[in-house]
């Protein structure tokens, strides 16, 4: 079942992330693909995540497809101009890749090639419009294509951005530009997320709530301090502390599973997006704990 079919069928969808490695040794990544296929509905293949140069997303998407895992092509506007982006979209399409997540992309200053020229010729909202045009058989200039694409395009949103209003205005622009589904930045406060969903439910879109597993109280504090749009409530930090160093990861997995269960049982959103960041092998554990396997 494709991601679109799963969402259309009203399935509570689970997506996760595969981060291509830096270098040609893909043994571990293949292991993760094998581990996740048949369990999750689709996997985001990241695009030079955090502006660190790695294998490109498109090649790994194709590999995942061959392995039987539905890929979501993450596409940022950091490294390619409008010609490169459209050309890659056409390329992805003929390789059978039909899910695309349109993002602006972390600035090069975050990565390992800080002296690179950041491109941002266009940005996430424009990229969504471009995908819509390609789906209608035209490039962004209106030139006719010999064969249209059939992308299922999505975007990202940060429900806990501060201030949130300009972020919500951009969220609406993304919807108007053709985004069908959204994956959110990591959320830890279900009540706050419900408020966001009350707003998001006004629109004909699917929302997958983002999760980053907390490995320790220290990690929670780090996220609060350094990662934009993430707020881990003190109650959860206390819960991790109380579990002790040995059991902090288990506590973190339990918190994630508990939250996912709450969202699913309360029919709050349409699915979840688990960003394991190096702990891909724990995704099935979380799904089991959440009653999704």
């Amino acid at each position: 079942m494709t991601l679109k079919e799963a969402l259309d069928a009203g399935k509570f969808v689970v997506t996760a992330e595969i981060g291509p490695p830096k270098g040609t040794d893909i043994a571990e990544m293949i292991h993760h693909i094998d581990l996740l296929k048949g369990k999750i509905d689709a996997a985001n293949i990241t695009d030079n995540q955090s502006a660190v140069m790695r294998i490109n997303s498109m090649s790994v998407c194709r590999l995942a497809l061959e392995k039987g895992l539905e890929p979501i092509l993450q596409m940022t506007c950091r490294d390619r101009n409008r010609i490169g982006l459209q050309s890659d979209l056409l390329g992805a399409s003929i390789l059978g890749i039909h899910n695309v997540l349109c993002m602006t992309g972390d600035h090069v200053s975050a990565g390992d090639h800080k002296e690179a020229k950041p491109v941002y010729d266009i940005e996430s909202v424009q990229l969504l419009r471009i995908v819509d045009a390609l789906n209608h058989g035209r490039d962004m200039m209106g030139n006719e294509l010999k064969g249209a694409t059939r992308f299922f395009q999505g975007a990202v949103v940060t429900p806990e951005a501060n201030p949130v209003d300009p972020q919500l205005m951009k969220f609406e622009k993304k919807i108007n530009a053709g985004a069908n589904f959204f994956q959110t930045q990591a959320i830890y406060d279900i009540e706050k997320f419900k408020e966001f969903m009350a707003f998001a439910r006004k629109f004909p879109i699917k929302v997958l709530a983002g999760f980053v597993v907390l490995k320790s109280a220290g990690m929670a504090n780090f996220l609060n301090k350094f990662v934009p749009g993430i707020t881990v409530p003190q109650l959860l930090i206390d819960e991790l502390k109380a579990a002790g160093k040995e059991n902090a990861l288990d506590a973190g997995l339990n918190i994630t599973a508990r939250h996912i269960r709450q969202l699913k049982d309360g029919k709050i959103c349409d699915g979840v997006h688990i960003m394991a960041i190096g702990m891909e092998d724990k995704v099935p554990t979380i799904m089991e704990l959440a009653g999704l396997l």
């Binding site: 602006t104 941002y120 266009i122 940005e123 949103v157 300009p166």
Partner: protein, 225 residues
């Protein structure tokens, strides 16, 4: 104005090592306000060159270094000093330096400054960049704040996910341009203007090298009207 910063003096010395004598040209406009091409800066450079065994045949601070014709006329009185120099060091911006390149057909010309940006002076010798000279101004749609310049990604449609407490992901010292635009639009009761999707930007409007004949441009417009 054009904001400039002095290059490392020892690097300049290394670049010009094969020459013995120099004529120095500053600028009374931007480079003077930046302290990179005023009398004090020229004196300092002359002193530095002399202390390293070089000769300074003369100095000039033209009124506007990037005004090529005017600078050429001003330099006439220094004809002998210029001729006596092996090379010219220009202590203004890249534009001023290239005026000298045009004027001195048979003499090497070297810059002593790095040209950084078109900037506003906020306090004495404190500058920040507000305009990127992109060729197609959009600040009429963004509450007068330029996102092409003030956002490190030059985003035209709103803040990215990297914004945190109104600050930029690139540095907490940079206020998010789109939060600033949002706040100003809100204060002006113009938030509906933020709903417009600007772009994709026409980057060809700022194609390099720029070239404009204001008179021809005006004549053309007149004809059109």
């Amino acid at each position: 104005m054009i904001i400039t910063r002095k290059k490392d003096r020892n690097n300049i010395l290394e670049t010009v090592k094969k020459y013995d004598s120099f004529f120095l040209i500053g600028c009374s406009e931007c480079a003077s306000l930046c302290g990179t091409g005023n009398e004090e800066a020229l004196d300092e450079m002359a002193e530095f060159l002399r202390s390293n065994g070089k000769k300074v045949t003369g100095t000039l601070i033209p009124k506007t270094g990037c005004q090529t014709l005017g600078t050429k006329i001003e330099l006439k009185k220094d004809k002998d000093a210029c001729e006596a120099a092996d090379a010219i060091i220009v202590m203004s911006c890249g534009a001023g330096t290239q005026s000298a390149v045009e004027i001195f057909k048979d003499k090497p010309v070297y810059p002593s400054n790095d040209s950084l940006f078109l900037g506003n002076m906020t306090r004495f010798q404190m500058f920040d960049e507000r305009c990127s000279l992109c060729g197609e101004c959009i600040i009429g749609k963004t509450a007068g704040i330029c996102p092409v310049t003030n956002c490190p990604k030059g985003l035209l449609v709103g803040p990215c996910g990297g914004m945190s407490d109104g600050k930029c992901e690139v540095s907490p010292d940079i206020p998010c341009a789109w939060v600033r635009i949002y706040e100003r639009q809100k204060a002006l009761n113009n938030l509906d203007e933020m709903k417009e999707v600007i772009g994709p930007k026409n980057w060809s409007a700022g194609q390099k090298p720029g070239n404009l004949s204001a008179k021809k441009d005006a004549d053309k417009k007149e004809k059109k009207d």
